[in-house]
Every structure is written in structure tokens, then in C-alpha cells.
């Protein structure tokens, strides 16, 4: 098949960006979208042009590195699919495809399609953990966790931290990411002692970097792991509760 790619090129954070158009023929439909870029890059190098920079690593939808805005949709047209798992058979022969980086103030551009998503790490550092220093743990089976609870926590923990939710949001909010991280831990019995501090600190840090959520719901539709927007509601509930709780008292009562 044949496709026409219109790709955002920008040499560095301070450089002027622009779209460039490339025609590619002899595209195989078994190719992944990133393999299409491999082929494009080989061609560019052959012509003496610098290849398109893009983030990728696992190429199986789990590391959260790949991050392309494809025709205005993070990770492209297929639901629940990261860019690296998208295959060319999902596109029509002769398709014209526009590819841009994630665009959000909190994700400064590094080069071409690569952005810096460190702000996500700052959110996690502010409370996305259970304090359990190595060596201090009791037997794993001492804490019984109902299967349904473990499953819900896992649904949230499946987040790959790619940032598609932020890219999809008209406000560049990171509520789905933060909610997934908060609720993974807040749902579990082990996460209870730090529950209220966790949600407060993480939400406050999130607000330093990202826009506010106005319930558009674009994030859920864009999420390659189909993380449910319900987690945002749960996080908001915990956040509000935390504001009313006397924290010290809460920790005494468990």
C-alpha cells in the first residue's frame, strides 16, 4: 500500500517547528506504525536528511515510550492500542496521515516527536508509593485481599504512563494518569495508612504542572490501556474526604 505522512519536524526545544510531507510506497500492511517510521528514517538517511526523532522502546504496548498524535488522536485510530501496536492494516491504501508530538505545557518538546514527560515522575515522587522499606514486610498471605479489590487495583495499575490522556485533553489535565496511580494504591489494604496524604500530595503536585479537569472524557477514549474515568471520580472523592479529615486522627483510627 501507499501512504502520505505529514510529520512535525522541530530541531530542538527553541527551534522553529514545521510540517514536512513524505510519500511512502510499498508499505506492507503487516508493518507496525513505528516500522513505517523506521522505513521513512532509512529513506531520509539515504538522502542525507536527519531522521525523525521519536520515542519508543518495547514496541509491545507496555513501556509507555511511544507517543504519537496521529490524525489528531493520541496513538491513532484504534481503541485501546498504543502507537507501537498499531498496524498499517488499519489504514486505507493511499491514506494521508498527520503525525505530531504530544502537545502540553507540562511536556516540553525535546525534538521532532519527542517530549519530556518528567512531570509524571514528579507526581509519583510526591506520594505515589507505600512506605515499606526493604526487609520490613510480613508474609504476603498475611494480608488477605479480596479478588475483586485486587482486580480493581490492577485495572488502575495497568497505566503505562504514556501521557496520551494529557495529550487528548483540551485542558492538558493529567487527572486520569494521577487517578490511576492514586487509586491503584488507595484501593489496597496496604495503601490505607497513607491514603489521605497520598491523594492530597499527588493532586496538589499535579496541579502545579497540569491543567484542570472539566470532565471532557477525552482521556478515557485515548488511553491505550482503556483505564476507566471512574478512577477520577474515586480520586476526587478521596481528595475531598482528605480535606475534611483530621489527618492525625485518621491515622490513629486506621
Amino acid at each position: 500500500m501507499k501512504v502520505t505522512l505529514t510529520v512535525w519536524r522541530q530541531a530542538g526545544p527553541a527551534a522553529q517547528g514545521r510540517f514536512e510531507t513524505y510519500e511512502l510506497d510499498e508499505v506492507s500492511e503487516d508493518m507496525s506504525f513505528l516500522e513505517l517510521f523506521d522505513v521513512l528514517n532509512e529513506r531520509l538517511i539515504a538522502k542525507g536528511e536527519e531522521p525523525v526523532a521519536f520515542d519508543h522502546d518495547c514496541r509491545e504496548g507496555i513501556c509507555g515510550s511511544c507517543s504519537m498524535m496521529i490524525d489528531g488522536r493520541p496513538h491513532g485510530p484504534e481503541l485501546g492500542t498504543a502507537t507501537c501496536q498499531l498496524h498499517m492494516r488499519k489504514f486505507a491504501d493511499g491514506a494521508k496521515i498527520t503525525v505530531e508530538p504530544w502537545r502540553a505545557g507540562a511536556f516540553p518538546l525535546v525534538r521532532d516527536l519527542v517530549v519530556d514527560r518528567s512531570a509524571f515522575d514528579r507526581i509519583v515522587e510526591s506520594g505515589g508509593y507505600i512506605t515499606a522499606p526493604t526487609g520490613s514486610a510480613p508474609d504476603g498471605n498475611l494480608i488477605l485481599i479480596p479478588k475483586a479489590v485486587a482486580d480493581s487495583a490492577m485495572d488502575a495499575a495497568a497505566c503505562i504512563g504514556c501521557g496520551a490522556c494529557v495529550a487528548a485533553c483540551p485542558n492538558s489535565a493529567a487527572n486520569l494518569f494521577t487517578a490511576a496511580k492514586v487509586m491503584h494504591l488507595n484501593l489496597l489494604p496496604q495503601g490505607q495508612p497513607e491514603r489521605w496524604e497520598r491523594v492530597t500530595n499527588m493532586v496538589d503536585t499535579m496541579e502545579q504542572f497540569f491543567g484542570s479537569c472539566t470532565n471532557h472524557g477525552e482521556c478515557e477514549a485515548a488511553c491505550p490501556k482503556e483505564i476507566s474515568i471512574d478512577f477520577i471520580a474515586l480520586m476526587n472523592r478521596d481528595y475531598i474526604k482528605a480535606q475534611f479529615k483530621q489527618r492525625r486522627l485518621a491515622s490513629q483510627r486506621g
Partner: protein, 638 residues
């Protein structure tokens, strides 16, 4: 030289406890006076950095990833072993130890393996406490599954995303320590050299991948947890950026490379579909619990798989290995599949796979059970191939997956270079010539959470009061100049072919000559071809752009340059090892029915290679392996 692994005295079951009592301790208040550089944020690196920081050491962490959470460990699917015996099926520390030594085809160090089995139980506890959402049974207890090479259920898992969840656990502990100021994180920072002074590791040189800035970092000790080198084959299940550079450059600074020829080929990967294939995707081994592997008995059979009745199918693993059936270890399963495909019985458009069929399991258990167990894997398969594995059997074929070799380390996980520690897949330690499923995650976390924090005091304690070597010392300046010179050299060739071209060519040489089957002839051929390719690379590679910007071609070029040297060492090691064991299969050494034939009399040793110069043959040092507990025997899974 004969290598001394410093294995503690005493019966195997008490060695670790005795040793922990004997190691020198650094008092808590003094720990802050030591700086440790950790390179790598996978399971090995993240767990080590977090645990060392919890103890009070000052840690500097480097990863070339944009976030520590993206390390390749994230991709592990199937599970992690632990000898909990929660299922009352006869498991024990001793059995896990025994299975691992046997599975490794008697080429692992017994004392290390025993310790690994011992701490395996603590790992699970630690991870649960951190909030890792392991699968649970209805009563709320931890669930287990079984994995290849074992007859007990000891594998803990979190859906098909165990590596992700374990890594997130370690990353969260790390994030906590970063927040507390105990760990300084350098993301998108690639270590390009190890710095040594008077034979000791004193720091690293790293390049900031966003700005291109090359800087020196000094410390009292350096820990490499930089993962495996499977990508020397170009196509593998490893993440695209996984590479050998960190350990290769340490090798060139004096660290010995052990058993590089032990590479693992995983039996259940999706076969390549065309020449654009950029990596191979693993389908977790756990699928072999419920899937049955077969090919049509008649190579000419063109019927669709559901039209082929049972009597025209050959369930070749069940037939050849009735005791273990579809759950034989990876090396055995891989070679069996290769035999079928080589005999022309392969399936799929390129006849390059075998079937992994779930029809029986779906009939027996119902679709929802299979969906619950493997849903995300089935979905992944469907995305890649466009076929629905609930209806059509999967097609699978072996692919390079894991590397048992790596830098040589002693019982304390210290290399022969004092102050240089190596953890996780980057070291050679525990898996011998073949790794059992669900044991890499266990080893990475054992190394980082429990072993290194306990052993590093031995090296650090006597240095109390000493400052790290300043970064304006001649050793740093020289190393930094070396890195900058290599960057300029790569940019300066200005040839006609891309870095990927050379990587693919190298991969073909490696796979064809040093893959699932190796011979003297093929290895000698490979060594010659690699040398030629390497020369071509340095004359004809085209790396565009500059050194002082974000430049992915330049990053790749450095890594491929190292692979082009390392690949040769791998083949040399394979050539010298005149036996077949685990993942190393020499066609000259096989039994009558085609199984690997070891030579314990001559090869029950670890081969540790020393760098002796760019154009000189590497020097061989041996660590003799003693098997006091698991007696040497031909493996049998029949």
C-alpha cells in the same frame, strides 16, 4: 588465572546467613558519607537504588530512559518464582534451588542459586507490602501458576503484566527516596565509560541524551544493572534500546565477561512476518500451561488447522517428553520446534511457526477462564497478526529472549574490578546455561533488594573517611576525552549506510551461525564475517546530525559499534566451549536422539574473558564449578 568466587564456608543452607554475619558493616550514621552510582533502573537497578538509599547511602541513579519506569523489565509478562509452597505441592527452597541448577544444565554456581531460592520468599512479601497487585484467589490469598521446567506451582503473577507491576513497585520505592533527597536521578543519561583508578571502579562518564553534554560522575562504588545483550541478534524480544554498551565498556576497562555464549531462545514468540520486522514479540511461556503445541503430521497438509483431526496432528512435545509435555524447559522446547520447521512441517504463510492451540482448554474451562488468564496476550497477538487466537490456533516460533552470560561477579556480586558491582541480567550469575521461566525477575529483585545491600558494606567499610576521586582527576579527564573522541569518530565517518543496516546484518550473521544450533564451521565463519562487517561499519556508516543535540542515530551508532565487537567475543566463547549445554547447542555434541550432550569433565567451569587489547585475542580465566548437592546428571524431561 583461576577465579575465586569467595563462596562462604559451611553447609549450603547456612552460607548466606553466616556470610551476612561476617560482612563488615557501615554504621548507619556513616552511610551518608558514601556515594554509590547505580546505572540502570530496571528491576535490578531500581530495587538496589531504593534499598541502598533506605539504608542511608547517597545514591546517584542513571538511566537512558526518559523515566526509570520504562526500563525493559516493564515488558516481562509471565511471573516471578518463589519457594513459598503455598499450594502444598511439595515445593521448598531446596526444590527451587535444585530445579534452577538442573534447569541451568549444571553450569551455575550452587551457592548463588541456593541464596536466590532462599530470598525468593522475601521478595514476594516485599512486593506485596509495596502494593504490587498480584493475582488473588477468591479467598483473598495469593494465586500461583506453573511454568516450564517445574512440576510445582510457584509462579506469582499480576495478569500478563508481572514485570510491569514489579517494576512499578520498585520504581515507587525509588520515587519515595528521590523525594526524600536520598537518590539523585539522572534520566536520559547514558553511561559511556567506566572510570577506574589504581584498578578500582571510581565513577562513570555519561552523556545527557537531550543536550549531548558529556560529564563525569564519581563515587565510592559503581553498580551496573544495565540488562541483557540479546539485541546483538538484532531481532529479539528485548526492547529496542537494550544493549551491551555499559558492560562492554566496563569489560574494556578490565571487568571479565563470563559465558557470553549462553543465550536463551524462547520457544513462544510470534514468527516474523516480513523484512521490515523490527523486533519479535514474546507470547508468555505461561501459555504453555493451557495451550498444546502441534504441527500437522504431513508436511503437505494445507487444511486450515481446525479441519485437521487429532490423528493427523503431531503433538511433538507431549509425544517426546511425556512427563513434562508442553512444559519442558525453554531450550528443549525451542530445539524441538526448530526440528519440525527444519523438516518442512512449519505452519503459516512463511511455514516458519508451529501451532499453540487453546481449543481443548477453551472446551474444558470455558472461554472466560482463558480470557481471564491470558486476555491481554490474546489481544496482543490479535493486534500483531490480525488473527483471533480464540478461534484460530496461535502460530509461534523461537526467538532470542534472554542472555545468561554477562560480567563475572563473585558471591558478593562484585566483579573482578574492586568497587564494580553487577546486578540483574547484566551479570552472569545464577542461571547457568539456561534460565527457567519466571526466574529473571526473581534474580533481579534478589540482587537489588536483598543481596547487594547486605554485601556492599564489605567493600565500603574499610574506605570510611575517604573522599571519592574528584572528577577533575586525570582518570576522569582521559575517560571523558575518550568518549568525546568516539562521538566525533562516529559522526566523522560520513559513509553511505545507516546504523540499522549494520545492526540487521550483524543480527543475520549471529542468528544463522550462532543461534539455536552452532558448529565449529559456522562459528569460524561468523567470526570472519563480523570482523569484515565491523571494518565496513567504521568506513561506511552514516550518522547524521551533531553530538551536542538529541541524536538517536548517534546513540544507536555507539551501541551497534559495541555489538560489533561483542558479537565476536560471543562467537569465540561458543567456539571454545566444545560441548552442548542449555542454550548453547553445538551440533558436534549431541546424543543420538538430538539432545544436548554436556562434557562435565572438561567444561564444568565458568569462562571469564579478559580484554587484552583491540586487536588481541581475549584471555580466558576459569572458575571451576563444584556440584556438591545437585549431582551432575544428564537432564531428562521424558
Amino acid at each position: 588465572m583461576v577465579m575465586d568466587a569467595h563462596i562462604p564456608e559451611g553447609p549450603i543452607a547456612t552460607k548466606w546467613d553466616n556470610h551476612k554475619f561476617d560482612v563488615k558493616l557501615v554504621n548507619p550514621a556513616n552511610k551518608r558519607r558514601f556515594t554509590i552510582i547505580v546505572v540502570g533502573s530496571g528491576l535490578g537497578g531500581a530495587s538496589a537504588a531504593a534499598s541502598l538509599a533506605e539504608l542511608g547511602y547517597r545514591v546517584e541513579l542513571h538511566t537512558f530512559h526518559d523515566s526509570p519506569r520504562r526500563a525493559h523489565s516493564i515488558a516481562a509478562q509471565g511471573g516471578i518464582n518463589a519457594a513459598k509452597n503455598y499450594h502444598n505441592d511439595g515445593d521448598s527452597v531446596y526444590r527451587l534451588f535444585y530445579d534452577t541448577v538442573k534447569g541451568g544444565d549444571y553450569r551455575a554456581r550452587e551457592a548463588n542459586v541456593y541464596r536466590l531460592a532462599q530470598v525468593s520468599v522475601d521478595i514476594i512479601d516485599q512486593c506485596v507490602a509495596q502494593g504490587v497487585p498480584f493475582a488473588r484467589e477468591y479467598g483473598g490469598l495469593l494465586d500461583n501458576r506453573s511454568f516450564g521446567g517445574a512440576q510445582v506451582s510457584r509462579t506469582f503473577y499480576a495478569r500478563g503484566q508481572t514485570g510491569q507491576q514489579l517494576l512499578l513497585g520498585a520504581y515507587q520505592a525509588l520515587a519515595n527516596q528521590i523525594h526524600l533527597g536520598n537518590v539523585e536521578l539522572h534520566h536520559r543519561s547514558e553511561m559511556l565509560d567506566l572510570v577506574t583508578k589504581d584498578g578500582k571502579a571510581v565513577g562513570i562518564v555519561a552523556r545527557n541524551l537531550m543536550t549531548g553534554a558529556v560529564t563525569s560522575h564519581s563515587a565510592h562504588a559503581v553498580v551496573l544493572a544495565t540488562g541483557g545483550y540479546g539485541n546483538v541478534f538484532f531481532l529479539s524480544t528485548n526492547a529496542k534500546a537494550s544493549n551491551v554498551t555499559a558492560i562492554w565498556r566496563a569489560y574494556k576497562k578490565g571487568a571479565y565477561m563470563a559465558n557470553p555464549c549462553y543465550t536463551q531462545i524462547h520457544p513462544t514468540c510470534i514468527p516474523a512476518s516480513d523484512e521490515f520486522q523490527s523486533k519479535l514479540t514474546l507470547m508468555s511461556e505461561s501459555l504453555r500451561n493451557d495451550g498444546r503445541i502441534w504441527v500437522p503430521t504431513d508436511a503437505m497438509d494445507t487444511r486450515s488447522p481446525d479441519q485437521i483431526p487429532d490423528e493427523d496432528r503431531d503433538y511433538f512435545l507431549e509425544r517426546r517428553y511425556p512427563a513434562f509435555g508442553n512444559l519442558v524447559p525453554r531450550d528443549v522446547a525451542s530445539r524441538a520446534a526448530k526440528r519440525e520447521v527444519d523438516a518442512g512441517r512449519g505452519v503459516g504463510p512463511l511455514k516458519n511457526g508451529v501451532y499453540l492451540d487453546f481449543a481443548d482448554a477453551i472446551n474444558r474451562l470455558g472461554r472466560h477462564v482463558i480470557e481471564e488468564r491470558y486476555g491481554n496476550l490474546f489481544q496482543m497477538y490479535e493486534r500483531i497478526t490480525g488473527e483471533d487466537p480464540y478461534v484460530v490456533p496461535m502460530r509461534i516460533y523461537p526467538a532470542v529472549h534472554y542472555t545468561m552470560g554477562g560480567l563475572w561477579v563473585d558471591y558478593d556480586l562484585m566483579s573482578n574490578v574492586p568497587g564494580l558491582y553487577v546486578l540483574g541480567e547484566a551479570n552472569f550469575s545464577d542461571h547457568g546455561a539456561n534460565r527457567l521461566g519466571a526466574s529473571a525477575l526473581m534474580q533481579g529483585l534478589a540482587d537489588g533488594y536483598f543481596v547487594l545491600p547486605a554485601t556492599i558494606g564489605n567493600y565500603l567499610a574499610p574506605q570510611l573517611g575517604e573522599q571519592p576521586v574528584p572528577t577533575d582527576d586525570a582518570v576522569f579527564i582521559e575517560a571523558q576525552q575518550g568518549v568525546e573522541a568516539m562521538t566525533q569518530q562516529l559522526l566523522g565517518v560520513n559513509g553511505t549506510r545507516s546504523v540499522d543496516y549494520f545492526h540487521r546484518e550483524l543480527g543475520k550473521i549471529m542468528w544463522d551461525n550462532c543461534g539455536m544450533a552452532r558448529s565449529r564451521e559456522s562459528l569460524e565463519k561468523a567470526i570472519g564475517e563480523i570482523a569484515t562487517l565491523r571494518e565496513e561499519f567504521w568506513n561506511d556508516v552514516r550518522v547524521l546530525g551533531e553530538g551536542d543535540t538529541f541524536n538517536q542515530s548517534l546513540e544507536k551508532a555507539g551501541r551497534v559499534a559495541d555489538f560489533l565487537e561483542f558479537g565476536e567475543l560471543l562467537c569465540r566463547d561458543a567456539l571454545h566451549r566444545e560441548e552442548s549445554c542449555g542454550g548453547h547447542f553445538r551440533v558436534e555434541h549431541q546424543t543420538e536422539d538430538g539432545e544436548a550432550l554436556r562434557d562435565d569433565e572438561h567444561f564444568a567451569y565458568v569462562a571469564a574473558w579478559e580484554f587484552t587489547g583491540d586487536h588481541a585475542n581475549p584471555g580466558l580465566h576459569k572458575e571451576q564449578l563444584e556440584f556438591e548437592y545437585v549431582h551432575l546428571a544428564q537432564r531428562s524431561y521424558k
